[in-house]
């Protein structure tokens, strides 16, 4: 079933278990394209699980999931390259430099050398990481890793951004810089997991609040 273009994410009765433990239970959602969804809830309420399912990194256990018009999990392959995912792990190789990591990602996403080079330079400049980009990631602080990870997540200019606590490890200046790449913007569809409800609500058009056991707070 193909969703209309206006709907970016549609969930119906989504559930996921880890063994006997219920991580998500009966999550329903409709998120329009170009809108921001804030996902709130205490630790262990299934926020990261939800994000990983939307990113096609986890299979949904129950219910129906449609992302950018593709039904998951059977149409996972259609979404590859259309999602920008920033999780708890930066997904960076420690023994490569920041720039080499981004070049590797660019090649995986099929960007040609010139276009990739220009984008990498621009994004590194934007995140004020140009000077340290040729150092190995293992030499970076947690905040610097997060800055490079943000560059990685948006390098291929995805249609949907899935951001799991994107501000973690960033100083106030870093947070401000990050907003330019992953903050709210016209036409940018975002799902943001946050532990800062006030800020998240202020930046989001929709809020999904989860509680223990992965149930939605009504």
């Amino acid at each position: 079933m193909t969703e209309p273009a206006e709907t970016a994410i549609r969930l119906s009765g989504l559930g996921r278990d880890y063994g006997d433990r219920i991580a998500l239970d009966g999550v329903d959602l409709d998120l329009g394209a170009g809108r921001t969804l804030a996902v709130l809830g205490p630790n262990g309420s299934g926020k990261s699980t939800l994000l990983r399912i939307l990113a096609t990194l986890l299979r949904p256990g129950r219910g129906e999931v449609s992302v950018l018009g593709s039904d998951l999990p059977k149409e996972n392959w259609k979404l590859r390259g259309r999602i920008g995912y920033l999780g708890h792990e930066p997904l960076l190789y420690e023994d490569l430099t920041g720039r080499e990591n981004l070049e590797f990602q660019a090649r995986l996403h099929g960007l040609d050398r010139d276009r990739a080079g220009a984008r990498i330079e621009a994004d590194l400049e934007l995140m004020e990481m140009s000077r340290r980009a040729d150092d190995r990631v293992s030499e970076f602080s947690a905040g610097m890793r997060q800055r490079i990870a943000i560059c990685r997540a948006v390098l291929h200019r995805p249609d949907l951004l899935l951001l799991d606590e994107p501000d973690s490890n960033l100083d106030p200046e870093g947070r401000e810089l990050a907003r330019r790449l992953i903050g709210p913007a016209p036409g940018r569809t975002r799902v943001v997991v946050s532990h800062e409800p006030d800020r998240a609500r202020a930046e989001a058009e929709q809020v999904l609040e989860l509680t223990h056991g992965g149930r939605v707070v009504r």
């Binding site: 990113a55 096609t56 990194l57 986890l58 299979r59 590859r80 390259g81 999602i83 995912y85 999780g87 792990e89 930066p90 997904l91 960076l92 190789y93 420690e94 023994d95 490569l96 080499e100 590797f104 990602q105 090649r107 995986l108 996403h109 099929g110 990685r152």
Partner: protein, 226 residues
């Protein structure tokens, strides 16, 4: 979709660059093999080996050295999120399988470039059997690389991966080792190489390699699922 060849080159290039920079696998493999030869030399109390004993010693040593590399081939993907990065990218996942197998094959070639002459120095009175050993080494390397990549990808998510890799690999690699030692033994006879069943053993290795290339290429996509 990014072309599989582009993804293959990117992943292989990343792995070789990382190994050149960190030297995490190859030095350990080489040191293990050379030390094992020293132990064999004193343990067997012989300065000359030939025939099936020579074949057995060299292949057992190479196999166990290879396991050190196989154990580590997916470690960065597991610990640094490489699996997720690949799964998010528009690439055929079998490109990762082929790139990892190619990286492992390269490690084995480098290992053998050092270890086989060392073995000859330690144990062989004449070296004329080494040149015809090249196809045997290539065939065994391909099998070890393909099967090792497959086993390692299955074991990498387990905490007991250091145990699982040899436990799963060794029984499956028995036919390959029989063929490799069978082809090698006549090449290392004291009177010079003979070619009894040489072609047959190479054919067995080619068949083995073909089967596991096909199996690995087919199932790897499913092994990356959560």
């Amino acid at each position: 979709m990014t072309s599989s060849f582009t993804a293959f080159k990117a992943i292989l290039g990343k792995d070789l660059r990382t190994e050149l920079r960190t030297m995490r696998s190859l030095p350990a493999m080489i040191l293990f093999a050379v030390t094992t030869f020293i132990i064999f030399r004193f343990g067997l109390d012989r300065t000359v080996l030939s025939g099936s004993l020579a074949g057995g010693v060299i292949w057992m040593t190479l196999l166990f050295a290879a396991i050190l590399g196989i154990n580590r081939i997916f470690l960065a993907e597991r610990e640094e999120g490489g699996f997720d990065a690949i799964r998010l990218a528009p690439v055929d996942r079998s490109a990762m399988f082929l790139a990892k197998a190619a990286a492992l094959f390269t490690y084995l070639v480098v290992l053998e470039l050092i270890v086989v002459p060392t073995f000859a120095l330690f144990f062989l009175p004449q070296w004329s059997g080494l040149i015809p050993m090249i196809p045997v080494l290539a065939g065994a390397n391909l099998g070890l690389a393909v099967l090792g990549t497959l086993i390692s990808s299955m074991a990498v998510n387990s905490r007991a991966r250091d145990l699982l890799v040899p436990l799963l690999l060794l029984p499956l690699v028995v036919p390959l080792m029989i063929a490799a030692t069978g082809a090698t033994a006549p090449l290392l006879e004291p009177a010079g190489p003979t070619y009894d069943d040489y072609g047959t053993w190479l054919l067995v290795m080619a068949l083995y390699d073909g089967i596991f290339c096909l199996v690995g290429y087919t199932v790897f996509e499913f092994l990356l699922e959560d």
